[in-house]
Symmetry: C2
Subunit: 245 residues, 2 copies
DNA sequence: CGCTCCCTTGAATGAGTTCAAGGCGCGTGG
DNA sequence: CCACGCGCCTTGAACTCATTCAAGGGAGCG
């Protein structure tokens, strides 16, 4: 039974420096480790949690990827974001202890579960954990603001290019190739996230492909002209922002 | 000189229960009060802070209102949000101590300045302050997600109706009328916030006005048929959300 | 009175959507 | 091993909602 759970070992986790243990001593890390709950792997299209669930915990992605979305009364979804390894999910629950969106796995994935009560408690005791938690929260807010900018006034082409560059950037931060990766999400998810239709996303991808900037093969994407892609996006970026790694 | 500064008295502040002191004892409140810095009033179109400024503090609105926006390299602005009394500004600085957007006053306004280092410190000492800070952060994240939903897949009419209802709701939480208020922002700001053009906003307002749902007179808005306005928006809302007060 | 800024209105244009059809890859079952 | 079906994606053509372009109105202020 034990073997199907992933091991909790924050200190040796390759994601530690993107995650809560960043900046903690080995001793502090093991105190954090002690509150992490093990969890069974989550399979494609399974829910990690659902909108309106009572929230006891937040979660970090250990492997695989997730999509979060909000469901309207009319049944329409709006995808809020995608989560890659090292990223923290469920922060919206800080408001009142309820999740305000649903999260599903885009592929088989594992997570670390962090009970909120114990995490808060520990933050009071370990100042550098408190600091790092705040940094992660700040990052979430900054990232949400970028999404607002993206959705607000950008053309389909700019949205698509930005989306690819954001992924490239995040994969590269994880030590993967920044020019070649697989999209774990469906076209439908991308479209919904970008505020476009699936047809528009498809057309944008073929356009970018036809101009030689990228190569698309199913879910696989290869960026051939990173500069050209950046050139599409650059004028929209705030000065403080850069896709240069 | 002293008289042009507003007095810091969190315990008697009418906004206390929307703000950080909520849930604190009188003694705890005065400890919080002690770290609040006085600040000169900010006039129309003046900056509270600018994108890329070093961030020593976060701010709560004491009176008046603000607009936050991100400036792109091409000079294009994207309005991120509007702030009314009791709301906390600058949380994005938690990421790395820099502001990631600019904030300008929409009218003469006053703020309470909270130095981040001292606030963090105090959060470690007062658990209920830590809790309330987290609640406010959670609220910010939830609100950003609502904006993403709003910008993602909504028609101009839905956007406009949602915008008016959001304001109505927030004014009512402040003890003002939920059916009659003045817009402190220009049409341009509304348009930019909603991802529309100024002309479209203008047309939507006249449409709503022509159908008798609202009355518009310059910046003044009166909601005549709250239900009709809600009916435009309802189908898009998540189940957990309600404009009922 | 004559500016300027802010907002409204009308008509033409266009980017993205909608509708419709077809293709491709993959798993299942004959 | 092939045939079939299904989910996912692409492509084309018509349409539509919001934008763009252009002009004018009205409040506030020197």
């Amino acid at each position: 039974m034990e073997s199907i759970f992933h091991k909790v070992d924050c200190f040796h986790c390759r994601l530690a420096e993107l995650c809560l243990p960043y900046g903690l001593t080995q001793e502090e890390t093991s105190r954090l480790e002690a509150i992490v709950k093990r969890k069974l792997p989550i399979k494609l299209d399974e829910y990690l949690y659902r909108q309106e669930d009572q929230a006891q915990s937040v979660f970090t992605v250990k492997s695989g990827s997730f999509r979060s979305f909000i469901l309207g009364r009319d049944g329409a979804e709006q995808t809020i974001g995608f989560y890659l390894p090292g990223e923290l999910m469920g922060l919206e629950a800080l408001q009142n202890g309820r999740f305000r969106c649903s999260v599903v796995a885009l592929e088989t994935a594992t997570v670390c579960e962090l009970p909120l009560s114990r995490l808060n408690e520990l933050c009071g005791k370990i100042p550098s954990l408190q600091t790092q938690f705040m940094r992660i929260i700040g990052k979430e807010i900054v990232s949400d603001h970028s999404k607002i900018v993206l959705l607000g006034n950008r053309s389909a082409r700019e949205k698509m290019a930005t989306f690819l560059l954001m992924l490239s950037r995040r994969y590269s931060a994880l030590g993967f190739s920044s020019t070649e990766f697989n999209l774990s999400m469906r076209r439908h998810d991308i479209a919904n996230f970008l505020g476009l239709t699936i047809e528009t996303v498809s057309r944008q991808l073929t356009d970018l492909s036809n101009s030689g900037i990228i190569t698309v093969k199913q879910r696989g994407v290869q960026i051939n002209k990173l500069d050209a892609l950046k050139a599409i996006v650059e004028p929209c970026l705030p000065n403080h922002f850069s896709f240069t790694h």
